[in-house]
């Protein structure tokens, strides 16, 4: 890893090279390794190291962005010249006011853990061994990511953060079924490979020989992974200032109004004790807890410096790297837990489906936030409060706002979920939703 001192030196050097009115420097360092397995053996085992720099130049409200991964003085000077040249050719952006000022960044502990190749392979082997005992086939990946990020600008911003994650995920295949499980921690010793294997194996065995079921409207119990896959699209298309003010969000014009059921509170909290903290955004602005929806009422949306300037709002610290054509995004959403256990939630279903995961979810219409997708890795029929049989996967077409207006109950705890890559993790409860539209089935 580079360390804060080295990165600060690079950033200072670039700021010195720049003759522009304003300059922003964004530095990324990655030291990563990943051990991938399939058919009960390791088949890809890779490591990579990179250091990248992106700079944003502003002259007369004209903005240019250039990036490279070469760090000798000549390359850095060239990079500055390139960004200045780009900015010169730009048209002034009348909505741009300035790069953000220095603000106090919350202190968090920087944790780096460089896993040895053997540590990852051992975890993988634990999963494979258990799959083999059950005459099943394991696949998955065990990743160790170490990253550093730093932001500096000519208005005095300096922010640095380093973090690590060890992320094991598996899909266990049977002859007619599959099961998924994952775990994530800062260090390898925090990842419970045995538990990951056991959960996935149980799902696989429980969903052996799934039966046909007619599509239609069902009550559903969405397990945390499925809730996370559903909410990913709300995260991008919902409380995003760009989309909100373009009138293209399902939340547009609804500030202060009831948008979801009264039992729904959605919070963006980059400092929640159960996730890995992110102290600042990609403009070096401090992050903080933001309540998006409280008891179903829209309270806040996410802003970065650009959209905060345009709409005279407070910057909430949700910038993505420049040039950002997506808008500001809350990356640490969770739904506030309710008061039921998952077991009790299943007990309360007369006839419905238990869904482990969603797959290939895509937006049909951003304004209504209608999405389609499939179920995957374990779908079960519930009758009179009991899981009675596994069923074949189904395609759904469902409006997310409608689903969040039909939540019967929410699990009393949050489960930490790993993303497929990197340091981002999120927290989700199980949801019991009264109506969910399934439109067709598949062959497995």
């Amino acid at each position: 890893m580079q360390g804060e001192k080295n990165l600060k030196q690079i950033a200072d050097k670039v700021l010195k090279f720049s003759t522009a009115e304003e300059t922003e420097v964004l530095l990324f360092v990655g030291n990563n390794s990943l051990t991938r397995f399939a058919n009960n053996q390791i088949h890809q085992n890779v490591a990579w190291h990179d250091l990248g720099i992106s700079i944003r130049i502003v002259n007369d409200k004209k903005i240019g962005v250039a990036s490279t991964n070469a760090f000798d003085d000549e390359s850095l000077k060239k990079l500055v010249d390139k960004a200045i040249e780009l900015a010169k050719l730009q048209k002034p952006d009348k909505y741009f006011i300035s790069l953000p000022d220095k603000n106090k960044i919350p202190k968090v502990k920087n944790i780096i853990y460089d896993a040895k190749e053997d540590e990852l392979a051992r975890g993988v082997y634990t999963v494979i061994k258990k799959a083999k005992i059950n005459k099943l086939t394991a696949s998955g990946a065990y990743a160790n990511d170490n990253s550093e990020m730093a932001v500096a600008n000519s208005r005095g911003v300096w922010a640095y953060h380093a973090g690590s994650s060890c992320n094991l995920s598996t899909i266990i295949l049977g002859k007619s079924s599959s099961g998924f499980a994952a775990d994530v921690a800062r260090k390898v010793k925090g990842v419970d490979a045995e538990k990951v294997a056991n959960i996935a194996i149980k799902k696989t065995l429980d969903s052996t020989e799934p039966q046909d079921i007619d599509p239609g409207e069902y009550e559903v119990i969405l397990e945390p992974q499925a809730v996370s896959e559903m909410l990913a699209f709300f995260q991008w298309y919902g409380p995003n200032a760009r989309i909100y003010h373009e009138q293209a969000s399902c939340l547009s014009g609804q500030m202060g109004k009831q948008v979801f059921g009264e039992n729904i509170t959605i919070i963006d909290d980059p400092f929640h004790p159960d996730i890995f903290p992110m102290p600042f955004d990609y403009e070096g602005q401090p992050k903080k807890k933001l309540t998006i929806v409280q008891n179903g009422i829209l309270k806040n949306i996410a802003y970065d410096s650009y959209y905060a300037n345009i709409y005279k709002k407070k910057n909430t610290g949700h910038a993505l790297p420049a040039p950002n054509t997506m808008g500001p995004i809350p990356l640490h959403l969770y739904i506030k837990p309710g008061n039921k256990t998952r077991k009790d939630m299943i007990k309360s279903v007369k006839r419905g489906l238990l869904v482990t995961r969603l797959w290939y979810v895509r937006v049909l219409n951003p304004k209504t936030l209608n999405v389609t997708g499939m179920t995957r890795d374990g779908t079960f029929l519930i009758e009179n409060g009991k899981i009675v049989k596994p069923v074949k996967n189904l395609r759904f077409n469902q409006s997310i706002p409608k689903a969040l207006n039909n939540v019967v109950s929410i699990e009393n705890k949050l489960t930490r979920l790993a993303s497929f890559e990197g340091e981002l993790v999120n927290l989700m409860p199980t949801l019991h939703i009264k109506k969910w539209q399934f439109s067709s089935g598949t062959l497995f």
């Binding site: 373009e246 890559e421 439109s439």
Partner: protein
Amino acid sequence: MLKLAEEILDKIPKVEYADVRIVDQENEDIATKDGIVEALASGHSLGYNVRVLHHEVWGFAASNDFSAKGIDATIKKAMEIANSSAKYKTTDVALDSQKSITASYKTPIKEDPFKVPLEEKIDLLLKADQAQKVSPKIVISQSTYQANKERKYFVSSNGSKIDQEIIWTGVGIEASAVSGAEFQNRSYPNSFRGQNQTQGFELVRELELEKHGGRVAKEAVDLLSADLCPSGEFDLILDGNQLALQIHESCGHAVELDRALGYEASYAGTSFLTPEKLFNFQYGSPIVNLTADATIPHGLGTFGYDDEGTKAQRTYLVKKGIFQDYITSRETSVELQKINPKYKKNSNGTVRASSWSRLPMIRMTNINLEPGGEEGTGKGWKLKDLIADTKYGIFMSTNRSWSIDDKRYNFQFGTEIGWEIKNGKLGRMLKNPTYQGITPQFWNSCDAICGRPEWTVWGTPNCGKGQPSQVMYTGHGASPARFRKVKIGVVNW
């Protein structure tokens, strides 16, 4: 650079096989929104990787540190990884035989996109953006441009030395209209960043974005008050730009041999096209011929050699409706020969990596539905004749959404726009068109394919696969085609 790659290769200890790739990528991105240049960015990334086959297992490490110390550390890491994997191996990796190749390849282009003045590009995009402002209901007008140059230097322990320069360019516009809760958008020449091809700036000039801005925006506004696409089982004619993505999802991914052998199970899934189906499975109707062709002019998946040093090829995947082949690598082709003794081929050259830091893997090249009117493909229809031949159906154009299950059976696509066909004539415009199906049933319902004059190689620059994820650029040749009795308009809006 080739010399430097050889120097790195020479430092690798004795192993069964090794290769080194140095990759130098340059890109330029411009995006406008509502008359403002929202993104103007230039990127550059240079690095290398070392891949070793040692104790019959792979080791791979990559770095952007070209110092002697950095190179030694990268080689050491690759060796350590192979040693570690070897402790837990259950099978040995074997590669097909490959002759030593010394070659150069360069994308043939007429006008280097990196030499066209930036002012000209910005001006062109802003004019196309402005042309979309035909109504106050147009709430977002956008235009996008990207150019990419990738220089790749490959050397291997079997003596191959290959250098390539791949250039590709992409451009498009998109108008979005809003009225109350209704949101509609239209794109040209395709959605999700337009058309992308291995061409120079000549592609941008040919497409005449500004000329199409007004039409596209008007269609987006008209869609706000258009009738909803009806639901039912109807005949469906897909425009080439939508059929391209249909091919990508339901054929291209399904014929990836690593996926079929279970190597992608942990992420993107497997494939219903399992090895015992080779040479006997009726994938589509007898007029359906699908190829993987990395040699066609302008295809986004066109190159000289893949990232294992195998020459670019044209392979029939489906011939007269029967499943014939996968897209393969040096390793998986050997594995397939063991599973299905009827299979006798070496790699068909489809292995690519998205950057120097990623492991090369099987990726789509240009996966094409061969045009009608050619060998074994039935009549070469014209779109207007195909519509005239359809009593009742829906014509759909330009992808809006896509989703498919993890074995590539059940799919659903939505398009930006549709038109009703009644008694052989295009009628009312339809909003929110969608269709669903099961892959082999769908392709077996194909009864007419338009001919070469309406055949285009569409670019799909955002194909995701693998862990760590890799985004690859792929191509799909397609002309409009008709499918009988498809489940249409299934979504409850």
